[in-house]
Amino acid sequence: MPSEDTKERIAKVIEVGRTVFHYAWVPMIIYVGFTRSNPQPSLIKLISPLA
């Protein structure tokens, strides 16, 4: 069984990872979709629903 110190460190790492995931998940999908979709779309197409 890991020591109390290790458990606290793991809990802190998981908390930081959760916060990163919370803020970065949707921007990551948008980034992956933009760079890999063909034809490469322009930035305005994301923001305006009419373009």
């Binding site: 890991p2 290790t6 458990k7 793991i10 809990a11 998981i14 959760r18 995931f21 919370h22 998940w25 949707v26 990551m28 999908i29 948008i30 992956v32 979709g33 933009f34 890999r36 979709s37 063909n38 034809p39 779309p41 197409k45 994301l46 629903p49 009419l50 373009a51």
Partner: protein, 352 residues
């Protein structure tokens, strides 16, 4: 059983090649392949047809507008803005969603007006191994959920392992393992084991037994789920014609503490430009859902539910607008690319 001639090719990993174990294993595999049992599907999809016919997952309240923008077809990349006007049961909400799908990877993410993030990811390592991840993260501390899942489709069986909120140091969380096996061409039997461990000291194991019977012409499916504690769920789905489907669902709880039953009958009509679902409940609820498509880009939804015993009604109206950011030529190029990929995957028929 008639003795089969030794047709098995030597397995190079086992030396010497014709050890009794490898030849028996090859005979067993060949017998199994000769049975020709179909793959039974996953345990989650056991009642997929019934869930698609009943409108319990689709009914909504109040006003709704969904704007979907497809930015690319292949790989698929779509962005969705969902607006929901308030109703008696829900506050007004806004939801932003993005979907990215290629051959092996599926990514989906959504953000709420409150800042709640929902995430889904499917990764297909091979044709039979798929790993899935599902997460919901909210600003409130207690509502976070992470579910990891691995699914293996064998020749005639399906094995699925899930872990919900596993904590690495003390291994608390909920673990689910399920196994579904085709026993004959029509019948599949399986089990699902749910192992709950809320604290390191307490744990609980619940088993469910599953059965699925598909008719030979695939026109009707009957399933049953039984928990020895006294919970039974039985469903029946039938495709009456190309346009009409019918589903019935019965849930019984016969535990010593609670005795309860719920029966649902529903039908779905698939017309050329519209889908209509109607449903009747044993709690006295009558509901209907209409999805009418006016043009390829515009669809109109209407949902209604009347509870006769409580004398209450819920009505929902919605529009779904899909627009594509691709111009006509780009759309045609994408269609051509998709067709070429499909031809590359399945070789063209030989010309005689």
């Amino acid at each position: 059983m008639a003795s089969l001639p030794e047709q098995s090719s030597p397995n190079p990993l086992l030396f010497p090649a014709y050890t009794p174990f490898s030849s028996t294993l090859n005979r067993f595999q060949k017998w199994r392949a000769d049975l020709g049992l179909p793959n039974p599907g996953t345990v989650e999809n056991l009642q997929k047809e019934v869930k698609a016919t009943h409108l319990t997952n689709y009914a909504f309240d109040g006003g709704r507008a969904d704007l979907t923008k497809s930015i690319s077809m292949n790989p698929l990349f779509q962005v969705t803005h969902s607006f929901a006007l308030g109703s008696q049961t829900m506050a007004p909400s806004y939801n932003f969603g993005a979907i990215y799908a290629s051959e092996k990877v599926f990514l989906q993410g959504g953000v709420d007006h409150d800042g709640n993030v929902s995430a889904r990811m499917n990764q297909g390592w091979t044709a039979s191994h798929v790993s899935k991840m599902q997460a919901q993260i909210s600003q409130q501390a207690g509502h976070n959920l992470l579910q990891l899942e691995h699914d293996y489709q064998g020749m005639d069986f399906n094995l699925n392992l899930k872990a919900a909120n596993p904590w690495p140091t003390d291994l608390t969380g909920i673990y689910v393992g399920s196994y579904l096996q085709s026993v004959t061409k029509n019948l599949a039997l399986g089990t699902e084991w749910v192992y709950q461990r809320p604290t390191p000291a307490t744990s609980d194991l619940v088993a469910t037994y599953l059965a699925k019977y598909t008719s030979s012409d695939k026109s009707w499916i009957a399933t049953a789920q039984l928990q020895p504690a006294g919970i039974l769920q039985a469903t029946y789905w039938q495709k009456l014609s190309e346009k009409v489907e019918f589903a019935a669902d019965l849930q019984l709880m016969a535990a010593p503490m609670r005795r309860d039953a719920l029966a649902t009958l529903g039908a779905k009509y698939d017309l050329r430009l519209a889908t209509f679902r109607a449903q009747l409940d044993s709690t006295g609820k009558v509901s209907a859902l209409l999805e009418q498509r006016f043009t390829p880009t515009f669809a109109f939804l209407m949902s209604g539910e009347i509870d006769h015993f409580k004398n209450a009604a819920k009505v929902g109206v919605g529009v779904m607008i899909e627009s594509s950011a691709l111009s006509q030529e780009e759309l045609e190029m994408q269609m051509q690319q998709m067709q070429m990929q499909q031809q590359a995957l399945s070789p063209p028929p030989p010309t005689s």
